[in-house]
Amino acid sequence: MSNVGSEQWSKNEEEMEFPAAEVMSESSTAAGNVGFGENSMMEGVEKYDGKGDEGEDEEDEEEERERDQEDQEQEEEEESYYESGSSRSEVETWISSFCSIRGHEYFAEVTEDFIEDDFNLTGLSSLVPFYKEALDMILDYDPDPDEPSRLPNMPVIENSAEQLYGLIHARFLLTRAGLTIMAEKYDLQHFGTCPRYLCHQTPVLPIGSSDLPGNDTVKLYCPSCADIYSPIGKEQNEVDGAYFGTSFAGLFLKTYTDIPGPFGVPSVKILAASAPQQTNDVATNSSKTSAAASTTAAGGQPKSGGETENTNGDGNDTTTTASTAVTTTTESEADKWDIYDMHLFGFKISERAKSGPRMRWLRERPRDVSELGI
């Protein structure tokens, strides 16, 4: 299984053509003109030495303006699409437009064959109101013009379509195709990175706390510290967790075993370019392994003998160039895990103190993975 996983992984690195990314770049170029003015405005605000309230108001206005602009851009895009459909090589489907909405960055584009297979949709009709209409909307089927429209207003169906798409999405993620797409997104850090400082920007995975919609919003699972976090963005915090499901993150990590986990696999640290000396050391270290120019493979020193090869599963390897010295290293003393110690004037706070450490166990790992008996 792991073999297949890494094969896919390397394949992903080679061809990075990802539809959502395409859409994103497209919209950003469309935003080019307006965006420029916006940037200079931003600078203006930062430099503006106004009073607090004013500053905040400005900020709010700024955000509103941004949003308005984006809406406008979207409208413009749509208009231009309707006006000159031939100019665009690809027709924008409901799915791709849904995935490009702000806040929907975590979503993968479900393939149409998956949705068209009724078996994959078993049981969803009872969960989603206006199931049939919603499905037609997702698949961009035009409603029958002869049939009198006894449909309720569009927003209701739009809502159902979103819910239906989310639930299909959760199922799709568990298929091989879904995992592959998500691997690409993981590689590009579409889900963001772990907010924990000592996780050193480990990319995270979306996870739901329930498989039923309406229970909880989406959370982010960090493979390095094995903990869940709330997304930073306001929009992402409104996405339902059931659209990703409880099983996806676990299955993903089981499929792509080269992603560094919290176990005996050496913790992979990303050193910023700010430490040139260390980087040199690292370079000599990793030169033992076949370090390609673009991919710095962190040669694993399997303490447990479990893994024989550890390629760095972080999204960084795709973006690394020779100039940006983002290098990875295996921690030579792999038994030393990064735990934050509380210090008062340089002295560690004792366990005996009332304010002493009580949560170290949460980040502790066994020195030797065999202690776990895995």
Partner: protein, 229 residues
């Protein structure tokens, strides 16, 4: 950039008020004039900050020198840096702690991103007391861990403006702020409802570590009680 607005500001309002209101400076509290005017509190800072005296004058709103824009900008920057360094010292005093306590209670520093901390409020902390080494981080007393601040504008604030000791001194001074950690939750990923073997094992291992800690704490307590008797 700064020269026009701050020049006019200098005449209309206090420099500190302007500084605290500026975007990205939400974590700072106001330093008392009393603390600022005591030279003893500034020991050693004049070697750290360029144009120390001018910067100090600017902070105290007594800057009345003529200088070109470039120098003025330089002094502005020095003043901000100096304020940060004094701030790190001030928040370790009783009044400073009180002010930061109020801000903490208000939730001015944000909440912990960890889901199982249930939006527990966090405190700013530095990873080093030496300036220009690392930006400010957020410390959560519930999980006792440090996190990157969520907004990009805080990523440029020097951690030395808060210092490495501040949160812990605050919890020494206000022990009632320490959250209850007796019933901790642990997240274990599952596939189709079944916990992943290794993760479940790790969670159990960590739980035994926790129980060991609890036992140690109990023995400390017994020791203490025995001594008191």
């Amino acid at each position: 950039m700064d020269d026009i607005s701050s020049e006019s500001d200098c005449t209309t309002e206090y420099w500190i008020d302007w500084f605290l209101g500026a975007q990205g400076n939400e974590f700072f509290c106001e330093i008392d004039d009393e603390f600022l005017s005591d030279r003893f509190n500034m020991t050693g800072l004049n070697s750290e900050v360029q144009y120390y005296q001018y910067a100090m004058d600017l902070i105290m709103d007594s800057f009345e020198h003529d200088c070109d824009d470039q120098t003025r900008e330089q002094i502005e920057r020095s003043a901000r840096h100096l304020y940060g360094l004094i701030h790190a010292r001030y928040i370790l005093t009783q009044r400073g702690l009180q002010k930061m306590f109020d801000k903490y209670k208000n939730g001015d520093f944000g909440v912990c991103p960890r889901v199982l901390c249930n939006r527990h409020p966090v405190l700013p902390v530095g990873l080093s007391d030496i300036p220009h080494s690392a930006p400010v981080k957020m410390f959560c007393m519930k999980c006792e861990d440090v996190y990157n601040p969520p907004l990009a504008r805080f990523a440029t604030i020097d951690g030395a403006y808060f210092g490495t000791s501040f949160p812990f001194l605050l919890f020494q001074a206000y022990p009632h702020l320490i959250p209850n950690k007796n019933a901790p939750e642990r997240f274990v990923p599952a596939i189709f409802g079944f916990k992943i073997h290794e993760h479940a094992k790790l969670a159990r291992w960590q739980n035994t570590r926790r129980l060991e800690l609890m036992q140690r704490l109990q023995s400390y307590e017994d020791e203490e009680n025995g001594r008191n008797k």
